[in-house]
Amino acid sequence: MLSIVKRILVQIKNDKRSLGLLLFAPLLVLTLLYFILGNANYVPQIATYDMSEKFNTELQQNAGVIELNEKPEAKDYLEKNGIDALIWKDSEGTHLELLEKNSKATTALKAIQDTNKVLQPSQSELLIDYVYETADDNQLDSLSYVFLGVISFFFVFILSGMSFVRERFGQTLERMLMTPISRMDIIGGYTFGYGLLSALQSVVIILFAVYGLHLHVEGSVSLCILVMILMAFSAVSVGALVSIFANNELQMVQFIPVVLIPQIFFSGLIPIDTIPFGLGNLCYFTPIYYGCTALEMIMIQGKGFLEIWPWLVGSVLFIGVLFLVNVMALKKYRRL
């Protein structure tokens, strides 16, 4: 088993591209997400017609304001001028027209709501607070556990799955099986070899997310690393298992959406109890569920080991079951 672990490590050391893919590609994707979902400080552009001077002045605190002298046709005006919202007043009341439902429109709407709040303060204002997050947390903070889990799982799954397919088609697996090594040693060596690399990846991802991108982590960073390492080990095992059903590298690529997309649904992106027909129960068969739930509890809810251990046990059991299934599956290539 140790020979396989050593071989994988030397192999990846000599293959700088795969090493780069494993270590730096997830950081690149995370950085991209940081800019897309993080605090973009976008200032919405809002056109006003026939609104009070007071309103326009206050709105300027929250948005770029264009005061119009005549009311234009909303659709044409918003589209051609790149304006996010048009607000005007007539005998029926105040109208607000937004181009489409997107994050820019949401920012424009918030700017108008904030302006109204200042101009018409109400004593019975609804004060919103979150148990586990603050109103300042952005989308990336709220979904960080999903992205960290899914991105890490994705890259490890591809690397291990493809490597196993290559072992089979390059006949190195057959050659290995024609030595006295046991099937358990092969799967063990594979899992630990790629698992170690993935563990390194997990540490790099978490440290980058926390100290580089300043992602909010309520609980312990080292617990996050532990969960990520377990997820990485399960990704290696899933990759090895799926590769058995792939007859070539192209088929392995085709398996990626089949294996990954359903798991993303159970990662916490959608609340599981809102999934109809009891389909949410499928989450128990996906390793990402255990990892992402534990990550959510640590990163968002600030829970510790005593609260998350059942999910850690779930992950370990998953790895154990996949390990045995992979050992059995190797029987296809050698009976003993």
Binding site: L2, S3, K6, R7, V10, Q11, I12, N14, D15, G170, Q171, T172, E174, R175, M176, L177, M178, T179, P180, I181, S182, Y333, R334, R335, L336
Partner: protein, 243 residues
Amino acid sequence: MKIEVNQVDKSFKKQRVLNQINLTINSGRIFCLLGASGSGKTTLLRIMMGAIRSENGTVTIGGTKVPNRQLLAEMGYMPQNEALYEELSVWENLKFFAGLHKLKRKTFEKNAAELLQVVDMLQDKTKLVRDCSGGMKKRISLAVALIHHPKLLLLDEPTVGVDPVLRRRIWEYLKQLKSSGVTILVTTHVMDEVTQCDDAALLRNGHIIAKDTVENLIGMTPNGNIEELFFMNDQSEMEGATC
């Protein structure tokens, strides 16, 4: 190590690729399985190793029924394509497979240096396999099969793509191994290679059409060309069909 193949049949997706194969390969001999591509040579080789299961029949090696994991420690296998790790150097590939056979470091270093000398790769031992030519990979693959000094050597088309000078050197080395008691089974589709062997079996469409010592097989042909045996078999089949 004596190999005995008894009544072996094998089909893939309802297509019969091996039919009632019976073979005896005596210890310390070089045995050649000769046949065109698709004749069933590799399948038979893989059944002998225990990599795939035959539908009927048995294979025993040195009296032990295949498959047997301990038996694999005594066997060296060289697949048809190189089956090497491209991102590892020549030396690292040898070291990895030596590790699977649990070879001690000193034994490995001695064996590896000796084998790389034979296959003329000693000066390239630090080269990554991905930077080696096809012929070089073939030579490394042979060295990998021999790294643990096996008692039984199974070589699937070992000299394809190897230049004539080196081919001769490899055959000399194989004969040297034979004289030290190693049993060698070689598959080939190159007729000339047969003359290097002691015994041979001619495989066609999953049937053994002739088997004997190479000397006797040559004696059966009108012009000393073993290839003729395939044509002679063709003719007798046609005569059989017309009768």
